[in-house]
Symmetry: C2
Subunit: 239 residues, 2 copies
């Protein structure tokens, strides 16, 4: 290796096109959708590819990094351009860079977000469709692997952070919160145990409002904003 | 934008050199070092830059991604080339891609690892020095920000994972484990509370061996390998 430093030599020749590594961004957007049996499932939007490689296969929304925009901005822009979705916050998930993941050498910086169903535009967007995250067809590139990793992170994250917040309204009942956890984890949770655990966690504040309807009134809770948000950390999103 | 797809148009012209985005890797290697007052501090190796930009400043070990190697392999190779350190496992930390972080456009995929002091070669390597993570000089590029983020992740991670494992021998006393936590968190922990918490966590297994010395014998523990490792997830490291 002649270059082990971060600085290109001033006289470095232009990289030959066949050797250039290109940087792309892709986005995994999870939300919950109620199925005909009234169960909630985790779904995500995919975009049908209209050119090779992998023409006709479904892929994560994404595109090339523009040289004058940050990674965060590229993720937001390409998501909006392909799907019309504009979440208030995207989190960086992982950089995928296997040599054989694309015919050309492409490093994809993958972002993800959880959005509430009401944050998704109702417009039908050409070549975009929503898929059950647990029952995906074969996707383009390594996108099955990427979604699998995002689901794994999602299931891990519900245990130690307020990630379910992104899928709920500002005020919610404990049953609604439990249903979100059940959808993500793919299993039922004992209501009494669940209530005890979240009440002991200090992350929820009871409000004096109640959800009324066909069942007995259920108290509404909100997340305690004073608890330090461990989710985002010191990185400021710069666009 | 003319390209919103992951596939370059077959006839796309070579990217002009001044517009090309380059991909680099950098590595944050944390270990503990005992200071003259017998306290342990978190330290990391830095490499002095021998060329512009930022000639003379200290920077994280790293280098350019080779087009024929994975991100993981590039991180391992450049770390070994610059510092001689070869940890058994590097974890991807974050991709840094602010437009102004380097005179040229560089996206850096940053890896990190925790290594035990005995895993570090004793050789003196030219232009490499170890620094207290809490008292860094001004580093090249955005590397102060990168180290700050890595420290934040480290402090968060001790709470829910077995990250301290990387800094300990296979068998260790509870006092040794507590000292690692104290070094990372930068504060003292109550020994009785700490013992109760780790014993309740189910992650430690008592052995029938004891550390003997100037104090009364202390039982040695090891990590329970049956507890699912939430640290690494489904991503297989492919070199």
């Amino acid at each position: 290796m002649t270059q082990t430093s971060l600085s290109p030599a001033p006289s470095s020749a232009p990289t030959a096109p066949e050797e250039a590594t290109r940087v792309a961004v892709s986005t995994v957007i999870f939300t919950l959708r109620r199925d005909p049996l009234d169960d909630q499932t985790v779904v995500l939007p995919l975009v049908r590819r209209t050119r090779d490689p992998h023409e006709g296969l479904w892929a994560l929304p994404g595109g090339w990094l523009n040289p004058t925009e940050s990674l965060d901005a590229a993720a937001s822009r390409t998501l909006a351009e392909t799907t019309g979705i504009a979440p208030s916050y995207l989190e960086q998930l992982y950089a995928f860079g296997a040599v054989d993941r694309s015919p050309a050498r492409v490093v994809s910086i993958v972002y993800w977000a959880l959005v509430r169903p009401d944050e998704i535009p109702n417009d039908v967007v050409e070549n975009v469709s929503w898929f059950d995250a647990a029952e995906l067809p074969r996707l383009a590139f390594d996108h099955n692997e990427i979604v699998e990793y995002a689901l794994w992170r999602l299931r891990n994250k519900v245990g130690y952070s307020r990630i379910a917040h992104g899928l709920l309204a500002d005020a919610f009942t404990l049953a609604e919160l439990r249903e979100v956890y059940e959808s993500i984890l793919g299993r039922r949770l004992d209501p009494a145990n669940f209530r005890r655990q979240v009440e002991n966690s200090g992350t929820l504040i009871p409000t004096d409002r109640f959800r009324t309807g066909s069942h007995r009134p259920a108290r509404l809770y909100r997340y305690n904003q004073d608890v330090e948000l461990a989710d985002r950390g010191p990185l400021v999103v710069r666009h």
